[in-house]
Structures are given as C-alpha cells and as structure tokens.
C-alpha cells in the first residue's frame, strides 16, 4: 500500500485579513488540511518574491500567498502592489518550468473562514497533484 504524498506548503498571510480569516476558521472549528505552514506578514505587499524562491529552495512543495481583497488593504494599496509583483513572479516561475500549481495566491478577508478552507484545500490538492519538489532544493552541507 502506497502512502499518500503529503505536501509541505508555506503560506504567507497578511496580518489584517487572511490571518484573521484563518483564525476564524480555527475558532469556528472548520476542518482544513494541516499541510499549511503559516507565516504571518503585516501585508501581502510585504512578501518579497525572494521569500517564495527561498521557500521553494528550502523544501516547500508549494507556496500560498493570501491578502485582503483589493480595496480593503489596511495600508490602502499594499495588495495592489503585491498583485502586480506576484503575477510577474508566477509568470517567471512558470517560464523556467516550475509547475504553476505550486504557486497560489488568494484574497481572503477576516470573515471568510469558509473561503480559507476552500483555498487551503485547493492549494494542498494542487501541490499534491504536482508531486514532491526536490529539483530546486538547497543542498544542505553538514560540517
């Protein structure tokens, strides 16, 4: 019997919407996959594209970035910048041959616990379908 592959997904959540949305999902006892490793950032505009590259280098099978809906940003426009930037990153990753399913981005507001569950399920499903991502793994040198 083969064991199902459990992907590692790094999620960058904005403090004001998505993190609160994920928190709401938790307090509402909504079940969602535990493959997500959440990193809280103050704004989705804070996510440097190199965070994503670094996460993939350090063994993530997928990356999820989530922020407030456009127009709802706590800092007025952070998610608009994030949208432009991460769109380009997605194109670039796709272009060099990374499976596009490894990179997901979503808008989840603080009241959307159920949407958060769906997003996570989709991200995990996608990464699972894409399989383990080892080609890009940083070589660990043990001295």
């Amino acid at each position: 019997m083969s064991e199902q592959f459990e992907p590692n997904i790094v999620a960058f959540l904005c403090n004001w919407c998505s993190y609160a949305g994920a928190d709401l999902a938790g307090t509402s006892r909504i079940q969602y996959p535990a493959n997500i490793k959440v990193i809280r950032v103050m704004c989705s505009g804070r996510v440097n594209p190199l965070f994503v590259v670094n996460a993939l280098q350090q063994g993530a099978d997928g990356v999820l970035i989530s922020g407030c809906h456009p127009g709802d940003c706590h800092y007025m426009e952070g998610n608009f910048y994030a949208r432009r930037r991460l769109k380009l990153l997605k194109e670039l990753l796709e272009y060099i041959g990374v499976d596009p399913r490894r990179f997901n981005m979503s808008w989840v507001s603080a009241s959307e616990g159920h949407k958060w569950k769906e997003v996570v399920e989709k991200a995990v499903e996608d990464a699972r379908a894409a399989g383990p991502f080892n080609q890009f793994r940083r070589r660990q040198i043990g001295w």
Binding site: L50, F80, R84, L88, K90, G97, D99, W107, R139
Partner: protein
C-alpha cells in the same frame, strides 16, 4: 551617419566649461572590438566613432562610476556628463531618470538614431577576427565591412544582432542634441527565443533552464554591465540576510537568475547587454524579454519611454489583471 558632424558636436560639448567628459566609442585594439571612450578635451574627439559595431550600452557608466568621498575642504565635482545613446540606450537613461538614479541636470544626452547593430560573433564565423581593427559602416540597409583590405557587403539579415531584430525604438526617445536623421523603425521580428521556450512543456522548460543555469559561473557580469542594476546595496552582496548563497550549485544559481530577472521586471529596456557579456553564453535575454513581454501585453506598459512616468512595480491600476488569484 556623418562622423564629422558627430565629432563636431562632441567637440562642442566637451569644450564646455560645465562638462566633465563625454562617453562614446572608439575602435578597439583588434578585430571587431570597440571600446568605450571617455573624452575629456576637444582633441580627443578624433578617435570617436559610431559604427555598426558600437553595440555596447554606455548608459551603464552613468551609475557605474565610483564616487569617492570628497576630501575635507574640497567641493564635489558637479560637472555634467555627456553620453552618446542609441535608441535602446536612451530608454535606459529614461528609466534611470524615472527611478531618480541620475539627475537630469547632470547629464547631456546626445542621441544617435540607430539603423541596427551587428553581432560580431555572427560575423566572426564567416570573416574571422583580424589582428588589426576592422572598419564597418552602414550601406543602405546592409553593412559594409572592410576586412583585410577588402570591402565586403554583409546583408542585414546575416549579421543583425538579435536585440536589433526585435527593436521597436531605434530612434532615441530622449536627447538634448541629435546627430543624424531619424531612421524609419522597422517591423520587429517575432521573438523566436521566448516563443521556443513557451512552446515547451513544463518539464522541458525546466530541463532547458537547468542546463543553462548550471553553466553559470556567478561572475555577476550580467549585473555589473546592466545599466539598471545599480543598487548600492545589492541583495547578491548582502550577507545578512543571505538571500542568495554564494555556493556554486544549481539551486543557488537558479535563485540568483530568478532574482536578477525579477529585479528587472518592468524595468528592462532590452538592450541585451547581459546576454552579450555572459562568458557562459546563457540566454539571459530570454528571461528578461519574457517578463517585458508580459508587462507589455498584460499591463500595456513599456519602460523607459517617458522620463516623467512611474516605475512599473511601484505603481498599480485597480483594474490590473488578477485572474490567477483564487
């Protein structure tokens, strides 16, 4: 291209009180090579050239120049720098102005409409490099090469550089003085390099770039030559945090190339310098042009056309595409 007129204009600019030097091109020491040339007085203009071999982008010297601390009691040198630009170079100057990397009052831009440059590596296959510097001129649409005392007409399609085949702005978009008549822009060719990769499947693309990135020596020539890579504190040099390890392996090379390409997204003016200087022959232009293409097609944005414009990644439109967001 009337060289005498160019030299006259250059001499006029260099002899001005408020001009430090003029950056142009002169013949190199051998073969097809052309070197950058810093002219400080009017006598120097005799060696100035503008030929189909002047492919290098001189705009990089605006920011590459070392700014030593000024000794106590001395005033910093505030004189202007004059620069010869082709169409693509002028976009780099514009982009630098947009990013406030240079001060408009400190540069004099001499625009040279460019009928297209030669990739000498293509030429050298047929006409090997000689010990003496060769001469080259435009002749109608084609190039005239003086090789071993012989005048050879090289058809345009045979030697035109890749960036020039794709060129959309052969005339300078910013200039204080223009030498020569504007050229008629030609129909840019289909970007076969990017198209070829886009047509591949994801694993094939990965295999392609794996081969390319594995060749990388991490000499950072591509960064150093780029007119738009001028951060004083570059993430590649930074140790804390170490964004990209110095280790020489595929993972770090890929991270480096992703970072380099990404930092030029929406800024790259497609002058092709990174690709030209790469000692390993990595087709870096294909990375940059892919992002430039996305920016152009999906956002209708072209960098370096308007010196008063906004930087692409530091601006947004509420209606930007977001079909990829869940």
């Amino acid at each position: 291209m009337d060289l005498n007129k160019l030299r006259e204009t250059a001499a006029g600019i260099v002899s001005r009180e408020d001009v430090k030097y003029l950056i142009g091109w002169r013949r190199g020491t051998f073969g097809y090579r052309v070197s950058p040339y810093f002219i400080e007085d009017a006598a120097g203009v005799e060696e100035l050239i503008f030929s189909p071999l002047c492919i290098s982008n001189l705009a990089t010297y605006l920011t590459l120049v070392e700014r030593l601390p000024v000794p106590r009691g001395q005033q910093p040198d505030e004189r202007k720098v004059a620069l010869l630009v082709k169409g693509c170079d002028s976009r780099a100057v514009n982009q630098l102005l947009v990013e406030k990397g240079i001060n408009r009052d400190r540069v004099i831009v001499v625009g040279l409409p460019c009928p297209g440059m030669v990739d000498w590596k293509l030429l050298a296959e047929k006409y090997p490099e000689t010990e003496a510097p060769v001469e080259m001129r435009w002749q109608g649409d084609d190039f005239l090469l003086v090789h071993n005392g012989q005048e050879i007409v090289v058809p345009r399609a045979e030697a035109l550089a890749e960036k020039c085949r794709l060129c959309r702005h052969p005339n300078p978009v910013i200039s204080d003085a223009t030498v020569g008549e504007p050229v008629q822009p030609w129909e840019p060719a289909e970007d076969s390099g990017v198209g070829e990769i886009e047509a591949k499947s994801a694993p094939e693309r990965w295999a392609y770039w794996e081969e390319q990135f594995s060749k990388c020596l991490r000499c950072y020539s591509c960064r150093n030559v780029c007119p738009l890579c001028y951060c004083e504190d570059c993430i590649l040099d930074r140790l804390n945090p170490t964004w990209v390890n110095r280790a020489f392996n595929f993972s770090e090379n890929t991270a480096f190339h992703l970072a380099r390409a990404f930092h030029l997204a929406g800024r790259c003016i497609e002058c092709g310098e990174c690709e030209r200087v790469c000692p390993a022959g990595i087709p870096l232009g294909r990375l940059n042009r892919k992002l430039a293409k996305t920016v152009r097609e999906e956002y209708g944005f072209e960098p370096g056309l308007d010196a008063e414009g906004e930087p692409f990644q530091a601006s947004y439109r509420p209606e930007d595409p977001e079909e990829f967001i869940l």
